[in-house]
Symmetry: C2
Subunit: 223 residues, 2 copies
């Protein structure tokens, strides 16, 4: 029973720091998205494409979480997104303290939109509030259509679903309709994007959604 | 610091139960493989194909771990593998206690080979000994060739690597050679199989390996 008590205490402390982060981001009118998925669902590739679509008009920034290496952080820096790499050294998720520390490296007054790319894991990150405004889960088609049913917390605790690698439809993989239906069965309120980062499918809708988030947040600050 | 102490205590208790399990399996000459991977790398499909290849000659059994649902357990039962489904209810890995409990449902004297299909997670399961004899990590080609570098513990703590979905070579995915090279960079002792469960590639080599494990374990018992 002791473990349970300690975990509860850790989660409460995390939530307090997450609330601080959210207040700070609100003060600077910076919407923040927390991207979560299995390893290899295409989080980094989606952010690379997002940079190309938005970097002319918006200042993006990213916090990149990985167990090891700075490979993904280097990819984002290479497309012009100022990125802080956080290595968890074996840890299976990011927590609010890591985000608070990473945020000290950004000038939030010069940032329009912040992405957090979480550690690739469809389970543990779902229970840690990082102070984000929007939780985004990516599900890539090759993972199979049963994943929302088998890993429900991640889909229940997210508000946006990106169905990725949709160009792989027709291969020996899960079907798009069933992946979408199973996710909506777990959480009917999910806003769904169908995206192929390699072929460009759905990227305009995704970019429009991000632009609207920024406009809405800046308007909220002025009101 | 308190959390660290508790985790250490939990891991030690787990290791003691795992040692008990390994002794029990040795007593009955039942080799046990712990299959681990990201969600959707093809663990269940590989076991379905394994059943078709071996069920005439060997008695298989499986313990199926999932966060939720009995979908995978039903799939294995349908191909004639007696399977106990373990639901972790949010937990991100199987532990030795779950395996010990599940084992009470099998007649080990009538079992030649036991599979444990772990929860889909490339991080947490790698640190929990389940009493298995062989740790197998699956890496599916669409996940990308950088995964062994980004999630090193899983590859370091396994002795067998199954590169799965190799029929997807040529799609917009990681390359086979780089996936293999990165895994061997992390752990040069990995025994590697290249498999496509849907097309049948590499399944004969995999089945031959499993048959040899059974022969070796039975010989060990007689000696």
């Amino acid at each position: 029973m002791k473990e349970v008590k300690v975990l509860t205490k850790v989660l409460k402390a995390n939530d307090m720091i997450a609330a601080e982060i959210r207040s700070l981001l609100d003060l600077h009118a910076v919407p923040c998205l927390n991207l979560m998925s299995s390893p290899g669902a295409g989080k980094t590739t989606l952010l690379e494409k997002t940079a190309k679509l938005l970097s002319g008009s918006l200042s993006l920034a990213a916090i990149e979480g990985d167990v090891a290496t700075s490979l993904d952080g280097e990819r984002l820096n290479a497309v012009g997104i100022p990125t802080v790499q956080v290595n968890t050294g074996g840890g299976c998720h990011l927590d609010a303290t890591m985000i608070k520390d990473a945020l000290q490296n950004f000038d939030l007054d010069k940032t329009d939109l912040l992405f957090i790319e979480n550690v690739g894991n469809l389970i543990c990150p779902s229970t840690f509030d990082l102070g984000e405004h929007v939780r985004v889960v990516l599900l890539s088609l090759p993972e199979g259509e049963d994943k929302p049913l088998k890993y429900p917390a991640m889909f229940l605790n997210s508000s946006v679903l990106v169905l990725s690698k949709v160009d792989m439809v027709g291969w020996n993989v899960g079907t798009l309709a069933a992946s979408r239906a199973n996710a909506l069965k777990v959480n009917p309120r999910l806003k769904v994007f169908e995206v192929s980062s390699t072929e460009g499918t759905g990227l305009k809708e995704w970019a429009d959604y991000l632009r609207a988030l920024v406009v809405e947040k800046k308007r909220g600050k002025r009101d």
